[in-house]
Amino acid sequence: MSTPFYVSPQQQMADRAEYARKGIARGRSLVVLQYADGIVFVGENPSRALHKFSEIYDRIGFAAAGKYNEYENLRIGGVRYADLRGYTYDRDDVTARGLANVYAQTLGTIFSSAAEKPYEVELVVAEVGVTREGDQIYRLPHDGSIVDEHGSLAVGGNAEQISTYLDQHHSDSMTLAEALKLAVRALSRDTNGSEREIPAERLEVAVLDRTRPQKRKFKRIVGRQLSRLLDEGGSTDAPSDTEPEADAE
């Protein structure tokens, strides 16, 4: 029989946060970037079936790093929330802000309830606006906080280093091919600064494209279209050399 001993609440929360962070860091990173016509999601994902990015609603996309079964559960919850809300009111009444709030409450409640194991996930909820100014990106860490993001962000294992790199090179007026190329370059940087090649088959790419005529703006980019965009990005490498940092690589 072991005797229960006292653990301070501070220590308890710190342990839980540590546990969640470690779980998230085990997963591969993913990045979300704004580009001229919308928002692009890029991640390294060897699986064709288990997606990191998905459609929630007309203009809303979802990205997650961490434990698959946990974020998949939250994703389906989000689809149900959005569809029910759109059915009860109107399609225009489903917003990323509302969804991000519900996710934050859910993650926060689970994180602070001693009876539940904290979720090892970090979510991104993005909504593409009619114009670039209307784009919204929210990052939701494991503890239920919400971070309002602009331009570019990275979540997952190597997030800090990748997002520093993105911040230096990203601009909102990039084309899709440029943004995609930048994302791949950022993802292929290892912790020790060296680079490795990520082949196109191991990339998962999706966009929220505001120029799509359909009301559902989410689209996966796969196969030929993906390799064409990556090649196109390669040929426009020259103009991106105008940035001093790009030369340094």
């Binding site: 939250l74 919850g77 149900r80 569809d83 029910l84 809300r85 759109g86 059915y87 859910t106 559902r216």
Partner: protein, 282 residues
């Protein structure tokens, strides 16, 4: 749901319970009272008066299917609405046209569209065309109580089957009975008898897309000619039938100008031959 999320703010357990990919199953679990089939009706004497939509026609052609509907809604002997829309996209590769009680029909279509979209988002794959047709069957059956009080909804479901690479039509009866139309055309609603007669004489299995769209407008014209509840092309108000085409490129609704052009060319010919094109006697 709003009430449920409000007091703690977090998603209720039903939202995070793994299980069905069906939105209707989720509603049955979480909020059954907003499902159309679960409404309690007070006992009534006689039929309820509500606007009724009328004729829908569908025709297949090599490479796709055309679904079209007139624009009239009636209530008894009154015209309730002149420009009602009764043909809707169900998803990228299918469409549904509804005859019957307009309010319930629109609600059924809305839920049906959502059911298909929800499945697609949750599963990451679309339902088979048969699967979609069966889902619609279940929804019509759920409306049986209403139908027995005179508030029936009878749709036609048409889609492009990407696996078999052809257009297919499913028609329904009021109890949800589903039958695939292998002859290549179908009609529902009060003018359907006349529309079907017209299509029977004009249809052949080598139609082009343009011929198929003309054929459905001809059939609707004949329906309007003999059925007072079906509306013909309204040149004065520029209200023309809704014509939709589904091919391997997906769903497309003809623009008002395209639909007007078809209707006008038919009207012109009918100035000389009011009964429309004649079939050979033997």
């Amino acid at each position: 749901m709003e009430a449920n999320t409000r007091h703690t703010g977090r998603l209720p357990a039903a939202f995070l319970t793994p299980g069905s990919s069906s939105f209707m199953d989720f509603l049955t679990e979480h909020q059954p009272e907003i499902l159309p089939g679960n409404r309690q009706l007070p006992p009534l004497q006689g039929a309820v008066e509500a606007p009724h939509g009328t004729t829908i026609v569908a025709v297949t052609f090599p490479g796709g299917v055309v679904l079209a509907g007139d624009r009239r809604a009636t209530m008894g002997n009154m015209i309730a609405q002149r420009d009602i829309e009764k043909v809707f996209p169900a998803d990228e590769y299918s469409a549904v046209g509804v005859a019957g009680t307009a309010g319930l029909a629109v609600e059924m279509v809305k839920l049906f569209q959502l059911e298909l979209e929800h499945f697609e988002k949750v599963e990451g794959a679309t339902l088979s065309l048969e699967g979609k047709a069966n889902r619609l069957s279940t929804m019509i059956r759920g409306n049986l109580g209403m139908a027995m009080q005179g508030l029936a909804v009878v749709p036609v479901f048409a889609g492009y089957d990407v696996d078999r690479e052809k257009g297919r039509i499913f028609s329904y009866d009021v109890t949800g009975g589903r039958s695939e139309e292998h002859v290549g055309y179908a009609a529902t609603g009060s003018g359907s008898v006349f529309a079907r007669g017209a299509m029977k004489k004009l249809y052949h299995d080598g139609l082009t897309e343009d011929e198929a769209t003309t054929l459905v407008v001809q059939a609707l014209y004949d329906a309007a000619d003999d059925d007072s509840a079906t509306g013909g092309p309204d040149v004065g108000r520029r209200i023309y039938p809704i014509v939709t085409v589904i091919t391997d490129d997906g769903f497309r609704r003809l623009t008002d100008d395209e639909s007007a052009a078809i209707a006008r060319s038919i009207l012109e010919r009918r100035m000389e031959q009011p009964d429309g094109p004649r079939a050979a006697l033997l």
